[in-house]
Structure formats: structure tokens, C-alpha cells
């Protein structure tokens, strides 16, 4: 068993910790900018995901049928440090001509114990207290756990990992991450290596390897590229062993570029390599079973293998260009001057090639960069696989999984001396939006339509290389300029803090409020530079597409505010928000005047807690198109003013000379004899014209048009005989004939007023020169057989129409993604409920599946199709029963589930 692992570790060489080796005590995460990273207390980059970009644009995968989500847009993993030295002496005095240490188990037999290490600390330090996000009154789990706050931190967050190696060096590896766009795609990696002889997790006790001078010490950082985790998996190139990435080092002749100049002012050959970047990107997998097209960028070719929402066919799933390079390396232990000739070697090696080296060969190959030890003719910088003539990135012998290594050295390190070096890691490439847009065009061309060719696709993807170079160049220049200007080398122009965010669901609306950060000074200058806020929103998925929906302050013309009501939302759907603050650019020392905006992830709502707008019951049932429109006015307490009851509907219909309103109406005086205390007034149909004037049509029993014609806006009084209990069919009138100045009908109302009255209406049609503008036949029903009374008592209430309760979608079909709540698999909604009720769900055989107590006062309630026993229901007809104080309703709906348990376990359809 151990042998097997050692072969695997041989393959991956230096930088690996497999779960089989050791228990990982702690994992730290930086999810601050677009480049995310997780690492372990002996920093080996994580087995599954080390670096991810873009941070939150992923597709859900669940590993266990639960809500565990794997971020599948990885770029590189298992990155880690190794170092080599000569004539190393162990604790009992044995001398090894070559000794190699790595964070994982070493492949070198006689120094096999040098792998691994002892954790000393893993800290997440943040410059500011992270914002608190509260959704519907409940605090979100903090997105970013941290251990310390340090206001002087040059970045927004930093992960510091310190550990002791068995070679006697204590390492510290610090990642600096940035939230604002000007730095969100790179991280600074800062390393310190201290030869203190310590090999355990206690640096203060007696050193285990005291007074050893380490000679010819090299430090080496390597990763395993894994461009587009999801892409490679999606296209059948299972990640364990069939990746198809290319690597290339750009920077072999960086010194020629510099000439005698500096990184900011080079005096040498402008055609030489201007940066030092070891990069990796996705290639074309020609050895996979699916070979009929060029799969560079891994276009999505399969909609069935992903949890909803599916990526569009053709979407590039592996667009990333990953890069790492040296920014600084001490000249020697006594001279901190930046040795610009580093890295001394850059080597790549196919991780799948199972080989075995003794320590001297490994040392010469990976640290000294001597290609001859493996029979190749190169020194220091191994040519890239493509430069060497390989054409298949997943060639299992020569290329596949080409791990890049960047090495500095050699140093002589006396006891208690330290070497400091700094690296840059960056990722960039086509944005998810572009990946979808171009990917779709490419797919259409593949299907015989118009679109883009393989070559055009690859050229578009290759722009990622320029984007990566641009990030590298920006970060590099910033680094050197900061040193020139006496700033902290890792500093960036800063944004104001992201505010605390409070998000609450409302009636077809979302209420947002946030904390006031207007007085916060710029961290670099201490001068206030706040300008405004921006609100971003995504629907369904917190990793979906966010769009800016509102802005205040700055040049927006909207006064700075600290709350906003978003009304462009739909009931039943889940929404996610984040709110940024931005400055006026006055304190931007790099690009004066350019505004800097706080990052999106600082107060983005968490994945599993969307805010879901709703409709209150009244709105849901009292609209004009309720079935069986009928109403009843009955007031037990006589005297006082009469009550009006009915329904109204907002309209916007232009009025012309031929605008007519036609209708059927049945005014009925009902049960209580006419008496002084029970005095019916009228049933009416009225229009509001131009938002002001009211045109009333009133049908009255015992109603004197003369005496009650008190308002000037009456246009017609009809002396209907309510006592006859008859329909008045095909009544109509011309609006302008009665109201010459009307230009628009803005509201229609049907109802009545009085103490004891009933009314019915049907077939209302408003027509103008452009035809029928509004019609409502109230379902053509016979109202009287099943009237929905709207009854007025002393405390008027409107009774929900239980007949309107409806299940959406029906049938529920698990694969009909378009018409389901795509982000929430298995969600069905009960709509038009009373505010408080009990919903019972039964199988068609009458087995009680689930009881839901609906208490929140809204008109809707979701059900995730899970039974009381926590099981997802099967395909079938289901019965629901709603019980409320207004009565009961029994109905039925259908669930169709064709996904298998296996598919759901994998996260498809869940």
C-alpha cells in the first residue's frame, strides 16, 4: 500500500498531499477576489481544488446527495514547496550527499523521512471586519472566517501558513488577496525560509538540528495544473490521469529584456521576454474517446451531466490561463537585494510518467535544471512540451499533466539565517459570459449553422494568454513601483469597505438596507474618498450572473442612500444580492481619478439562503379576474356611513370617440327586509378616467338618482330594479358621450355600497378604435352557483378565494428545467393561499405524505417534495388539502420524476 502511494507521489513529485498520507488538520480559504484559493496547514494546495477562477462562477455538484457544493472551476491544485540541499546531516549525524524535502512524502528512498512537516500556524488575517449579511432577519454564515484583524494589512485578506520541515528549515508562506477589480485576479505569495534547525511544531524549544550550515539550497514551488476542473470532467477526460493541459515558461531571457535597466525601465532587448511567467492552459485532447472536434477550452457537449442550470451547449468550460512567477528573491542570506536573475531553473515534468530517481538525480533535474540526467539536452529551463515537438497534451508518457516547477537558489544558509522570496500567482481568460456567447456560436457552426470555426474558437480562447500577461504585468509593475515609491510592495489602491447588508423579502419586492460607510477614510491616505454604492443582483443562483440594478452617489445623479426597494423581482424565485461601495478616485495613487469599488464577495449573500419575494393573500385573490365575481355587503351594525366593497383593477386604455364599455350586471337586494336600519344603496360599475374623475354606473333599489346625485362626475344613473333579481345584459355606454374630455381609462371598479346588498357582474368589455382593449368574462361561470362573497362587517375583511389555490408547476417534471424553479430542484409552490392555513399532502391512496403549516401571512408556500420521513416522493398523483378559517380546499397535482437516485446523488436534478 505504501509502495503504491510512493509511486503516485513519485509521479507528482514534490507537491502533493494525498488523503492517504496524513490527516489534514486545517484548511484555510481566501475567497476575496475572483481568484480563490484554499490551502492546508502544511501548504500543499489541496487535493481537489487549490486555485479557482473566477471565484464564484461554478456549477453545482453534490457529492453525497446533500447540499455539499464543489467549486468546479479549478485551475491548479496540489501546489507546494520543496527544497534541496547537499551534504545534509541528520540528527544522528548521518550525512546525505543530496537531500530533498517536500511538503509531501519524498520519493527519495534514503531521505524518505524528509517529507511532510509540522504545522505551526494557519491564520487568516483581514484588514477590515468582514461585513455582516442578514437575510430575512437571519444572519448569514460569515462568508469569510478569519483569525485576526490587521488594519495595516496591505491587502484585503491574507492567509499565513507557517510550518517546520524535517530538513531543519521553518517556512512561512503568506498569500495576499485583493477584493477590488484592480487586484482580484492575482495573489502575492510571500515566502520566508528560516534555517533554525527546528523540525517540530515548537520553535521555542531546543532546535532538533542545531548549528547546521545548509549548502546549495534551492527552493522550488510547483503545482499540478488542472485547467477547468469541470471542463475536463465534462468532456470525459476524467481528471485522474487524462488531463490535456499545456504549460510554457515565458521568461528564459528576461535578463536580456532588462539589459542593464530595471523592471520598470528596461534598457535591453524589447523583444526578449518581458515577464517571468510559468503558465498553463487547456489543450486539445485528441486521445480521448470524443475526438471529432477540437476540444480546446472544453466546449460543453452534453447537457445531461450537470446539475441545473445546464451550461449552454458549446460553452467553454476551461477558459483559464494560469500563471506563476518570481517577483523577488534575496541575493543571499546577507543581501536582500532582488536577484533578478532568478528563477534559476524552470522545469516541467509529466506527472503521469512513473519514474524513480535517487536524490542526486532529483536534485540535479529539478533544482539545478540539468536535462542530461534524463537524457535531454537542456540546462536550467526545460523547453515547453510544444517546443519539444509534442502535439498531444494528454500524451501519457511525455506530456500528460505537465507539472511546472519554479526554482530559486542556490543559497548557503548558516544556522539561523533566512531567505525571503516573493511570487505572483494569477489567472485570467475569457469571462463566463464570453465563454457562453462564443461557445454557442461555435456549437451552432458545428451543427451546420452560422458560427465560428475551431480556429476562431481557439484564437478567442488564446486571448486569455494576453489577459493573463496583462494581469501579470500590472501586478509586477505595481510591485516594483511600490518599492520605488516607498510603499508596501504588496499595496494596491483601496476601495471603501463593503457595507453590512440587510436583505428582506417583500410583496413582489426585496428591501435592501446597508450600513453607512460614507465616513470611512481611504486606508492608504486616511482621507475620506467615499463616492457611492452599487447594488448587484442575480436570480436563482448566488453564483449566477450578477447585474448592477441600482447605483447612488458618484456620477449617478442619485443621492447617496442606505436603502433600496427592488421591485423588478418575481414571487417564488430566489434572488441574491451584494452591495458595493466605491470611491471618487481622489486617493488612487496609481491611476489618479480612477474609482475603486469594493469586491463582490465581501457581502454577497450565501449560496443556500436566497431571498424570495412573495405576494400577500389579498393581492392574490382580489383582482378583477377572480372566478365568480360576486360580492355582498352586509353590515350588522346599522347607522354610520355605509361600506363599499368590490374589486378594482388598474388599467391604461386610451379613450377615443368610440370607446365603449359593455357589461352584464345583476344587482340583488338580498335577505333582510327594507327597514330603517337596513338600507341598501347601490351596486356599481365605475371607471376612473385620467387618474382623477370617476365615471359611475349605479344600480339601485330604492335609490333616488336625483337626491343622491351629489358628485359632478356621475355620468349615468340606472334605475335598476334590484328586487327583481335579474341580470341586465349587454348594458353599454360610450365614455366620451358622457365624459368628453377623457383621454385614458385608468381604473375599473365593480362593487357595491350599503348595508345589505349583493351584486354580480360579467362580460365586461372595453373597446376602442383599436379593438377590444380589456375583457373579462369571469370564467363564463354561473356566479350564483358558487359565489365568492366579499363580506363587509364592522371590520371589513376580504375573504380569500380558496378555489384559486393552485400548484405550480403542474405537472412537476424533474427534467423540464425551463418551467421549474431551476435553481431549486424539486420546488413546487402552492399559490393563492390564505395567509394562515394548514396544507396536507397525500398520495392518491390517501397516505399522508407531509403536513405544512403556512403561517407567514403570504399567499404562497413552497414544498420540496420531501416527505415527513425525509424522502423524496416518487412519480404519481398527489392530493393536497388546505384547511383555513375560511374553509377547506382539496385539489390534486402530479409529480413526474425520471431521474435516477444515482443522478440525484451526483447532483443532477437532486
Amino acid at each position: 500500500m505504501k509502495k503504491r502511494y510512493s509511486i503516485i507521489s513519485l509521479v507528482i513529485m514534490f507537491a502533493i498531499v494525498t488523503p492517504g498520507f496524513c490527516q489534514i488538520a486545517e484548511v484555510g480559504k481566501l475567497e476575496i477576489g475572483e481568484l480563490w484559493h484554499s490551502d492546508e496547514d502544511i501548504p500543499s494546495g489541496g487535493w481537489q481544488v487549490g486555485y479557482q477562477w473566477p471565484g464564484n462562477v461554478v456549477r453545482v455538484k453534490t457529492t453525497s446527495g446533500l447540499n455539499e457544493t464543489i467549486l468546479a472551476n479549478g485551475c491548479a491544485r496540489m501546489g507546494g514547496l520543496s527544497c534541496g540541499t547537499t551534504n545534509w546531516k541528520n540528527r544522528v549525524g548521518s550525512v546525505f550527499p543530496y537531500a530533498v524535502y517536500s511538503v509531501s512524502e519524498s520519493v527519495i528512498e534514503h531521505t524518505g523521512n524528509l517529507a511532510g512537516g509540522s504545522p505551526i500556524h494557519l491564520k487568516i488575517v483581514m484588514r477590515r471586519e468582514p461585513p455582516v449579511v442578514t437575510v430575512n432577519g437571519v444572519k448569514d454564515v460569515p462568508r469569510h472566517p478569519y483569525t485576526d484583524i490587521d488594519p495595516n494589512l496591505p491587502s484585503d485578506a491574507m492567509m499565513s501558513i507557517r510550518w517546520a520541515s524535517k530538513i531543519g528549515i521553518t517556512f512561512q508562506q503568506d498569500y495576499y488577496a485583493y477584493a477590488a477589480k484592480n487586484g482580484d485576479s492575482y495573489m502575492i505569495l510571500d515566502f520566508h525560509a528560516l534555517n533554525n534547525g527546528n523540525t517540530d511544531n515548537n520553535e521555542n524549544d531546543a532546535p532538533e538540528l542545531k548549528d547546521q550550515v545548509l549548502t546549495d539550497v534551492y527552493f522550488n514551488f510547483g503545482i499540478q495544473p488542472h485547467i477547468g476542473f469541470q471542463g475536463s470532467e465534462q468532456n470525459g477526460a476524467v481528471w485522474e490521469g487524462r488531463t490535456d493541459d499545456w504549460v510554457e515558461y515565458y521568461g528564459e531571457n528576461y535578463l536580456d529584456f532588462l539589459g542593464s535597466g530595471t523592471p520598470l525601465n528596461p534598457a535591453g532587448d524589447p523583444n526578449a521576454d518581458s515577464l517571468r511567467v510559468f503558465m498553463a492552459w487547456d489543450g486539445d485532447n485528441n486521445l480521448d474517446s470524443y475526438t471529432e472536434h477540437d476540444d480546446t477550452g472544453d466546449p460543453n457537449r452534453n447537457t445531461t451531466n450537470w446539475a441545473e442550470p445546464y451550461p449552454t451547449l458549446g460553452t467553454f468550460l476551461s477558459p483559464q490561463y494560469w500563471g506563476m512567477g518570481i517577483l523577488h528573491a534575496d541575493t543571499d542570506v546577507n543581501d536582500e537585494t532582488n536577484d533578478l536573475s532568478q528563477p534559476v531553473t524552470t522545469v516541467w515534468h509529466p506527472a503521469l510518467k512513473a519514474e524513480s530517481w535517487t536524490a542526486d538525480i532529483g536534485y540535479k533535474l529539478f533544482f539545478e535544471g540539468d536535462g542530461s540526467v534524463i537524457g535531454e539536452n537542456w540546462q536550467r529551463h526545460r523547453p515547453s512540451p510544444q517546443e519539444m515537438g509534442f502535439t498531444e497534451p494528454n500524451d501519457p508518457v511525455n506530456v500528460c499533466r505537465p507539472n511546472p516547477y519554479v526554482t530559486i537558489g542556490p543559497y548557503e544558509m548558516p544556522f539561523n539565517s533566512e531567505i525571503h522570496w516573493t511570487m505572483l500567482v494569477a489567472v485570467n481568460g475569457l469571462s463566463p459570459e464570453k465563454c457562453e456567447e462564443y461557445g454557442k456560436q461555435w456549437w451552432e457552426a458545428k451543427q451546420g449553422g452560422d458560427g465560428i470555426t475551431d480556429m476562431e474558437k481557439n484564437a478567442l480562447l488564446a486571448t486569455g494568454r494576453d489577459s493573463l500577461m496583462k494581469v501579470f504585468s500590472t501586478a509586477t509593475k505595481r510591485y516594483f513601483r511600490n518599492i520605488e515609491n516607498g510603499r508596501h510592495p504588496f499595496d494596491t489602491p483601496d476601495a471603501p469597505p463593503a457595507p453590512d447588508l440587510n436583505v428582506t423579502a417583500g410583496p413582489k419586492s426585496v428591501f435592501l438596507s446597508w450600513s453607512d460607510v460614507t465616513e470611512e477614510p481611504d486606508p492608504d491616505t486616511g482621507v475620506k474618498d467615499f463616492a457611492g454604492y452599487r447594488i448587484y443582483r442575480a436570480r436563482d443562483l448566488n453564483y449566477g450572473r450578477y447585474e448592477m440594478i441600482w447605483e447612488c452617489g458618484g456620477n449617478s445623479g442619485v443621492p447617496v442612500a442606505h436603502s433600496f426597494v427592488d421591485t423588478l423581482v418575481q414571487r417564488g424565485f430566489g434572488y441574491f444580492y451584494y452591495v458595493t461601495s466605491y470611491d471618487n478616485g481622489s486617493q488612487n495613487w496609481e491611476t489618479p481619478g480612477e474609482s475603486v469599488e469594493s469586491g463582490k464577495y465581501l457581502n454577497m449573500m450565501q449560496r443556500n439562503s436566497p431571498v424570495i419575494p412573495f405576494l400577500p393573500p389579498e393581492n392574490a385573490v382580489v383582482e378583477l379576474n377572480v372566478e365568480n365575481l360576486a360580492f355582498k355587503v352586509r353590515r350588522s351594525n346599522s347607522g354610520g356611513s355605509f361600506d363599499t366593497v368590490g374589486v378594482s383593477h388598474h388599467l391604461d386604455i386610451p379613450v377615443d370617440d368610440n370607446t365603449t364599455v359593455a357589461y352584464d350586471i345583476k344587482p340583488v337586494y338580498s335577505s333582510i327586509p327594507i327597514a330603517d336600519n337596513h338600507y341598501p344603496i347601490y351596486v356599481e360599475l365605475s371607471l376612473v378616467l385620467d387618474d382623477t374623475a370617476t365615471a359611475n354606473l349605479r344600480y339601485a333599489y330604492n335609490y333616488s338618482g336625483g337626491t343622491n346625485k351629489t358628485t359632478a362626475d356621475f355620468i349615468q344613473i340606472v334605475q335598476g330594479d334590484a328586487a327583481k333579481n335579474e341580470w341586465l345584459f349587454d348594458e353599454s355606454f360610450n365614455v366620451r358621450n358622457n365624459f368628453p374630455t377623457a383621454t385614458r381609462i385608468t381604473n375599473i371598479f365593480i362593487g357595491g355600497a350599503g348595508w345589505d346588498y349583493e351584486g354580480f357582474a360579467d362580460n365586461i368589455v372595453i373597446e376602442n378604435d383599436n379593438g377590444i382593449q380589456f375583457s373579462d368574462n369571469f370564467n363564463d361561470g354561473d356566479f350564483s352557483s358558487n359565489p365568492q362573497w366579499i363580506e363587509i362587517n364592522d371590520n371589513p375583511v376580504q375573504i380569500p378565494n380558496l378555489n384559486k389555490i393552485i400548484v405550480v408547476p403542474n405537472p412537476y417534471y424533474d427534467r423540464a428545467v425551463l418551467n421549474n424553479y431551476s435553481a431549486e430542484p424539486n420546488k413546487i409552490m402552492f399559490f393563492n393561499l390564505p395567509g394562515q392555513c394548514t396544507i396536507r399532502i397525500f398520495t392518491v391512496a390517501g397516505d399522508l405524505v407531509k403536513t405544512i403549516h403556512h403561517t407567514n401571512g403570504t399567499s404562497e408556500e413552497p414544498w420540496n417534495q420531501v416527505t415527513e420521513s425525509n424522502q423524496l416522493v416518487f412519480t404519481g398523483v398527489y392530493i393536497y388539502h388546505v384547511q383555513s378559517k375560511y374553509g377547506e380546499k382539496t385539489g390534486k397535482f402530479i409529480i413526474i420524476r425520471t431521474s435516477t437516485q444515482e443522478e440525484r446523488d451526483l447532483g443532477f436534478f437532486r
Binding site: 418575481q570 423540464a816 415527513e868 424522502q871 412519480t875 404519481g876 398523483v877
Partner: protein, 332 residues
């Protein structure tokens, strides 16, 4: 033959005695099988007796509870059942059987569901109310069965039924905005079917009218609601009033073991006057349904040589209101 009989009896007894402890209501698997409609009780007489009916042999509807009971049907018969099921669903069923003692009993049965109309709705983020109501649609579910039962002795019988179950849950439509137009995207129909097998045994001890029975229903290679029924009945009048044949009183009890939930207990009491007029009541204890009490009445008439059996039952179904069943059978 005697050995065979005792073996059967012993097996049955072992199951009967041990299952109540094996069952466990915490092992509920409600809604974890499909074609749930085949669990609905068709017969008015059985429903009135709380479905404690496996130990009743010779009823035309026995095929739905214990196929072995069909071995005791005499001659040729046909029965139709109309069950006004919950949520205004009609559950219709019928049996035709032909018995020849030398050959055994052959049975054809059907169950058909009439659900009325469903409202088709879809999520629509662009509609003010967040959904669209696309009107009514219908579905279809039925079961067809071919059964065979045979007496092993005058007291022991075996029976089985092979069932074909069919389900058509209507069109699966999906809709999308093509530009600003809301269009139907694609349509298919969701259909499903299954073969299931029922098996039962029945044994008359000829002691105080005690009969015992066991039935297994819906055995299939698909997730169907597998049910085991263990039943026993006793003629109380023979115990307490020997010879009072004109006033017969029969008590029956079934233990129901189902894949869907733990055990159910069902009890029925039937009073018969001159073997011609019947009053019945039943009670159910289950962990899952709303059912409890049931009542019913029935009569057997002789009309021009035809034996006509009419039964009615009324079952309480908790919040889902009441269930009325009517069965009409003729034997030639």
C-alpha cells in the same frame, strides 16, 4: 396433502405471530413507490369491514384482497364497484370470474381511475403572478388482471393474479420565451407500465368458523407498493350462540404490512340476517392514512335464478371527507 397443509399453516402462523414485532412505524417509506392507485380498496363490502377481508372467501371481489378466496366462488359471476374516492376522484373496478370445481376459478379484473381534470401550470417569471395557467389536462391510470385460484382441499385454497398496470400522466410540455413570444418548446407524454403479481392462501379450520389467510400483493421488479396481508376471522355466533345461523356475526382482523409504511391493523364486524341482509362496520389503525371508521350494508337477492349482491359502504377519511362505495354483483 396433509403435510403440505400443515406446512402452509405453520408458515402462515409464523408470519402472523412474528410480523407485528418486526414492523416498525419509524420505517415509513410513504410515497416511495409508484402506481399508488392499486392500493385503493375497491369493494363496498370489504371497505365497510375496514378492509379486514383476506379471510373472506367466495366474494367476487376477493381477487383484490386475497386471490385464494376466489376458489370458493360458485359458478360464474361479475361485479362492478363504484368508489367515490377522495378529492373527487372516481375509482371504478370490476371482476368477471368463472369457476369450475374441477379446473379452479379463472378471473379477469380491472381497476380504472377517473381523476377528472388537472390544471396545467408552469413557472413564468414574466407573468405578474409568477406562473401561467395553461388550462386543463387529463391523465389515465388502470390495472388489468388475470387470476387463477384453486382449492387444494375443501378447506384450503391457493390463488394468484398477474396484473398489468398502466399510467399515462399526460403531456410533458415545456415552454420558453423565444424572443418575446411564449412558445411551446417540446411535448412528449409520460407513460409508465408495470407487471405485478398477487398471491394468496386461504385456510378454513372448520372450528368455530375460524378462517386464516395470507396474501401478498404487487410483487414486481419495479418499486410498486408491496403489501402483505395476514387475516383471520371467526364466526362469533358459533362461539357464543351455537346454532344461531339466522343471526350470523363474523369478526375479522387483518394485519397489513406494507412497503410504504409499517403495520396497519384492520378489523371488521359483519352481521347477517338469514344470510340475506347485512350490516357491517370496520375500523382501521394505520400510521399513514386518515381513515378510521367505516360502515355499510348489503343484501343478497335471488331474482329469476340470478344471485344479486348489492353492497354499500361509507368510510370516514379524516380531513379528506367521506368515501362512498357501491358494489353490484351478479352470479349465474
Amino acid at each position: 396433502m396433509e403435510k403440505y397443509k400443515y406446512l402452509l399453516f405453520f408458515t402462515w402462523y409464523a408470519l402472523f405471530v412474528t410480523t407485528p414485532t418486526a414492523g416498525n412505524s419509524s420505517m415509513k417509506k410513504i410515497a416511495q413507490s409508484k402506481m399508488q392507485f392499486i392500493k385503493i380498496s375497491p369493494s363496498a363490502r370489504a371497505a365497510a369491514l375496514g378492509d379486514a377481508f383476506t379471510s373472506y372467501a367466495g366474494d367476487l371481489n376477493a381477487i383484490f384482497y386475497n386471490p385464494a378466496g376466489m376458489a370458493f366462488v360458485e359458478g360464474t359471476g361479475v361485479v362492478f364497484n363504484n368508489n367515490s374516492w377522495i378529492a373527487e376522484i372516481s375509482h371504478l373496478s370490476g371482476v368477471f370470474c368463472y369457476n369450475k370445481d374441477a379446473l379452479g376459478t379463472f378471473t379477469f379484473s380491472f381497476i380504472s381511475m377517473d381523476y377528472g381534470e388537472f390544471e396545467r401550470t408552469i413557472v413564468d417569471e414574466h407573468a405578474w403572478v409568477g406562473y401561467q395557467n395553461l388550462g386543463a389536462f387529463s391523465i389515465m391510470e388502470y390495472a388489468l388482471g388475470l387470476g387463477y385460484a384453486r382449492k387444494i382441499t375443501n378447506r384450503l385454497s391457493l390463488g394468484g393474479q398477474l396484473k398489468y398496470l398502466y399510467q399515462n400522466l399526460g403531456d410533458i410540455q415545456s415552454f420558453a420565451y423565444i424572443g418575446t413570444e411564449f412558445e411551446e418548446h417540446k411535448t412528449s407524454t409520460f407513460k409508465d407500465n408495470a407487471l405485478a403479481f398477487d398471491f394468496g392462501t386461504y385456510y378454513d379450520t372448520e372450528i368455530k368458523g375460524i378462517t386464516i389467510s395470507m396474501a401478498m400483493q404487487n410483487f414486481a421488479n419495479q418499486p410498486l407498493p408491496l403489501i402483505f396481508r395476514y387475516g383471520m376471522s371467526v364466526k362469533l355466533h358459533e362461539v357464543f350462540f351455537p346454532g344461531a345461523e339466522n343471526n350470523a356475526l363474523r369478526l375479522s382482523g387483518d394485519i397489513l404490512q406494507s412497503k410504504d409504511y409499517g403495520d396497519g391493523y384492520q378489523f371488521g364486524l359483519e352481521y347477517a340476517l338469514y344470510e340475506q341482509y347485512f350490516l357491517r362496520t370496520g375500523y382501521k389503525i394505520t400510521s399513514a392514512t386518515e381513515e378510521d371508521f367505516s360502515f355499510g350494508a348489503g343484501t343478497n337477492l335471488m331474482l329469476k335464478g340470478l344471485k344479486i349482491q348489492i353492497d354499500y359502504s361509507y368510510s370516514k377519511f379524516g380531513v379528506l371527507k367521506d368515501i362512498n362505495r357501491l358494489s353490484f354483483g351478479i352470479r349465474f
